[in-house]
Amino acid sequence: MIPVIVVSIYLVIIAVIGSVAFRKTQSNTEDFFLANRTVGSMVFFLSLFATNMTAFAILGSSGQAYRQGIGIYGLMASSSGLVIPLTIFFIGTRLWAPDAGRFFS
């Protein structure tokens, strides 16, 4: 029963935050996808980290860690800590360039 209560409270809080945010936003694509370009470095980093942790959880990292131990951190998190920044550095920067077509056409 307690887990149901905790999850329900969490969902209500999320819904309230979403409702308040909806009233304060501009309802266009730039606002939805890019937060009106107001996302700073720390928020961007935390968002990227949370996205990756969610992906790992869906892939079963929690269960694997339970089965094999904390070494799963090395398998997933620390390799991503190198590969994702390298991907952003080498590919993301070229996608960001206005003439990205000349790199990827």
Partner: protein, 86 residues
């Protein structure tokens, strides 16, 4: 960018990537760092720091500034085209 610089940075990336495969820690939990942290986890905590340092080095030494120059050139070109249609 100079060829030696490119070679150095490439080898550095390859080295850091292969350091991730700490096979010498895969079959043991001890010694415990600070009394509780398995050696494998402590190694990867340090590895995460090393990866951050590598990225800082790459940003400092190999940032693709020519892409930012491309952006300002594209903006200039766009403003010239708008002037032509006036």
């Amino acid at each position: 960018m100079k060829a030696t610089k490119v070679l150095f940075l490439t080898l550095l990336i390859v080295l850091v990537y292969f350091l991730h495969q700490d096979f010498w820690n895969w079959k043991q939990a001890e010694p415990f760092v600070f009394g509780f942290l398995p050696i494998g986890l402590a190694y990867h905590a340090g590895y995460s720091v090393a990866a951050a340092i590598l990225m800082a080095v790459l940003v400092k030494l190999a940032w693709p500034g020519h892409l930012e120059n491309t952006e300002s050139q594209a903006a200039d070109k766009e403003s010239k085209n708008d002037g032509g249609h006036g």
